[in-house]
């Protein structure tokens, strides 16, 4: 039986897939994973999961990311737009002014 192994380097990091081991059950899979993946590299935690239990969809059946330009979904796209930044700043200033008036300053 094949178990996929995921290694986490430090607490809080993602567990990243790093290989697999053959083992008859979870306990032995963890032991083998420890030997093969936890002894040479800094390791905080290991996961093992039966290969059969992992669901998969690949690019043959799915249309990952679509076919049209979706760069507007990337935050980086808006990095250099000064006009937008000014509008936000103005809007914030207007709201602060309105708030001050409401409180009767």
């Amino acid at each position: 039986m094949i178990w996929e192994v995921f290694r986490q380097e430090e607490a809080g990091d993602y567990h990243t897939h790093c290989g697999n081991v053959h083992a008859p059950d979870r306990e032995m899979a963890l032991l083998f994973a420890e030997i093969q993946h936890g002894r040479r590299k800094p390791t905080h935690s290991l996961w093992v999961a039966p290969k059969d239990e992992i669901g998969e969809v690949d690019e043959e059946t799915a249309n990952f990311g679509g076919t049209t330009d979706k760069s507007y979904r990337w935050a980086m796209t808006y990095q250099n737009i000064d006009a937008a930044a000014e509008e936000v700043a103005d809007s914030e200033a207007e709201q602060a002014e309105a708030d001050r008036r409401r409180r009767g300053d």
Binding site: V21, H22, A23, E27, M28, L31, F32, E34, I35, Q36
Partner: protein, 280 residues
């Protein structure tokens, strides 16, 4: 911890009798580890699966590392690595025969059972060194203990699974019948008078017979639980501790010193830093 009154001090502080006792104890420890590791490496690329191959190689590597820590303490007395390993005559090695006897051809049951019998004994003898009156020994115990847990898990994991199958159980039983007398040799004295001195000086806080009792009370219930019959056997003769070994030892010794002799070496090249420097 041992009281400072009973503390033997550093290598230079020992009198002749104390030094002889320390040396005997260190040879017991180092030779067991070194020779067993030599045997384990015979499984490389031959173990039943890739995973078991890597596991046993890792265990062998750990045991070699432990041997190195103990041989390093013998170097305190002026011996070189060549004196201790590559040029020491086979009749001066003090490991128990459990480490030296060959594995039955392709018998994985032998490998995991042997590892189990040995690692339980190693755990017990390390406990008896934790409060040794000789600081150089006691300071190295925690480092070695750290790696022993995994050896036990590995051996027990395999034993439990092999024993669930009747063919596996038969193989384990025949390995146990063969290995048990050699395992008892782990608790044999190098020299009875010197072993008493080791205890009297507090180098070790449990005697050989106490450790044998503890070992039996741990391995026997575990093995019975697996469905195995623990043989009613005596310790193997020769037991190895006094320098007397089985014929297989000469072959193994010849094997691992072969390259050193063939290359006409007179000293061993060091590629790793001294354990004392690595720790500081």
């Amino acid at each position: 911890m041992a009281t400072t009154d009973a503390d033997l001090g550093s290598p230079g502080d020992l009198d002749e009798g104390e030094r002889e006792a320390v040396e005997h104890l260190l040879y017991r420890l180092a030779d067991d580890e070194f020779v067993l590791a030599e045997r384990y490496t015979e499984w490389q690329v031959r173990a039943p699966t890739l995973e078991s191959d890597l596991s046993l190689s890792n265990i062998a590597q750990d045991e070699l590392g432990h041997a190195r820590l103990w041989y390093d303490l013998l170097e305190d007395f002026g011996y070189s690595e060549s004196d201790l390993v590559w040029e020491r005559p086979p009749g001066e090695w003090r490991h128990a025969t459990l480490s030296e006897v060959p594995f039955a051809e392709g018998d994985w049951a032998d490998a995991v059972l042997r590892s189990y019998l040995y690692d339980v004994a190693e755990g017990i003898r390390l406990s008896a060194l934790e409060e040794s009156s000789y600081a150089r020994i006691r300071d190295r115990v925690p480092k070695i203990r750290g790696e022993e847990g995994f050896h036990r898990d590995h051996a027990e994991g395999w034993l439990e699974r092999l024993a669930t199958d009747s063919g596996g159980l038969d193989r384990l039983q025949s390995a146990l019948d063969r290995l048990f007398p050699h395992a008892l040799a782990l608790f044999a004295p190098t020299d009875p008078e010197i072993e008493d001195r080791i205890d009297d000086l507090g180098l070790r806080t449990a005697s050989l017979s106490e450790m044998r009792g503890e070992w039996r009370s741990e391995v026997e219930p575990f093995l019975s639980e697996l469905g195995l019959t623990v043989p009613d056997a005596d310790r193997h003769t020769p037991h190895g501790r006094g320098g007397d070994h089985t014929g297989d030892w000469d072959d193994l010794h010849d094997d691992f010193t072969h390259t050193y002799r063939e290359l006409g070496r007179t000293e061993a090249r060091r590629i790793m830093v001294d354990p004392d420097e690595a720790e500081s």
